[in-house]
Symmetry: C2
């Protein structure tokens, strides 16, 4: 088992491959070329690295015409990467420089366990406006009022913070060119909205359907017109 662990650690522990994993963390699928741009390296090189990650089943591919879409092969991968991301020192997280370059990727797909797309962005904007969450140097933090708001909404922030994953981070939604929330808080929010029947999952796709109740509540609480 130790060798297996070392194998996985060294796989993730190469700068280029770590960069790939970091980019894939939000759950979207990227093409090889996109990943080459994100990781700042050549197509040949990214191809080699993606091959290694595929061999180890850390990633899965889906071929669409001449494109190949890469993503994490399962949730455990995302959790493992998040677990490592949790080790990023808190000071660094809040001091993150705002000039960080944005990767020129245009695709947007459903994120693993949180709301993305138009609704996700609108919801995030509304929460920023209402000071439930605040933007600190391109990083999201929850405010005092926010903790209360979530509590009223039926989510215990302290409990969510105990989860062994990234609490809250912005996730750039390229279809909207704006950030939406990701992390355990965003996941809890989605869970709650599903539980309260604001939203429903569809069986065979990642699409989310907004119920009549959800439409009403989203407008009432967030001024979102669906």
């Amino acid at each position: 088992m130790e060798e297996q662990f070392i194998k996985i650690a060294t796989l993730i522990g190469d700068p280029t491959r770590a960069s790939i994993m970091w980019a894939l963390l939000d759950g979207r699928a990227f093409t090889a070329t996109e990943l080459a741009i994100v990781a700042n390296t050549s197509p040949q090189n990214i191809s080699m690295h993606l091959g290694k990650l595929l061999d180890a089943s850390l990633l899965s591919v889906e071929k669409q015409g001449r494109h190949k879409y890469y993503r994490f092969s399962n949730k455990e991968i995302a959790y493992a990467i998040e677990g490592m991301a949790n080790l990023i020192s808190p000071t660094t997280v809040s001091k993150k420089k705002s000039t960080e370059k944005l990767s020129p990727v245009k695709h947007c797909r459903t994120c693993y366990d949180h709301l993305a797309g138009k609704i996700g962005v609108a919801l995030t904007n509304s929460m920023l406006e209402q000071n439930i969450i605040v933007d600190v140097d391109n990083d999201f933090e929850i405010s005092q009022e926010g903790v209360k708001w979530f509590s009223d909404f039926g989510i215990d922030v302290d409990e969510v913070k105990k989860k062994r994953r990234l609490f809250l981070k912005p996730c750039l939604d390229w279809s909207e060119r704006k950030n939406h929330m990701a992390g355990s808080l965003a996941a809890s929010l989605l869970d709650k909205m599903l539980a309260d029947d604001w939203l429903r999952r569809t069986t065979n796709s990642r699409a989310i359907i907004i119920t009549g109740k959800g439409e009403k509540e989203l407008h009432k609480q967030f001024k979102i017109v669906v």
Copy 2:
């Protein structure tokens, strides 16, 4: 933030350092020399690697005479490593060769979140005898009866399995020279025993006190004489 992530990934992703992290996973503290033996390298080299891990605050040291004891600097580190260990393919886990060498380390301290020491080992032995858990090539697995047993004990195994960490693994207790259980199942078991007041934590040490009730129950259910 990306650079920070890459830094952490490359730190863990060196074979020698991965080996160190793997050894420390059970929560015990190791000396530099012990880690050199475990990682199969020289004292100078281990010193260099430990220095890097210290610089990044992944580890903490405690000096005792001419020895230096290294351990994870906080729980998040352990969770991150566990998250990576979760990616070890299930087939590999069950096919693990039993000839794997055991590291010649004699120290034993309290493990992070599960019972260790004499009681931990006795409990594990009893569970093996009762077929609640089974030993498959030096790896622990829960049996069908085991799932029922835990359910009767008030622990929902399916729920525990959902947690993003290693479910069950043997952890060699050198003071006893036998294995005890580690992982989320072992953690749940400890939690439950604390909740049921079989055991109590002490305030300023990692020692666990067995209550009168606990003594009775441990004898009744596991034939353990405290």
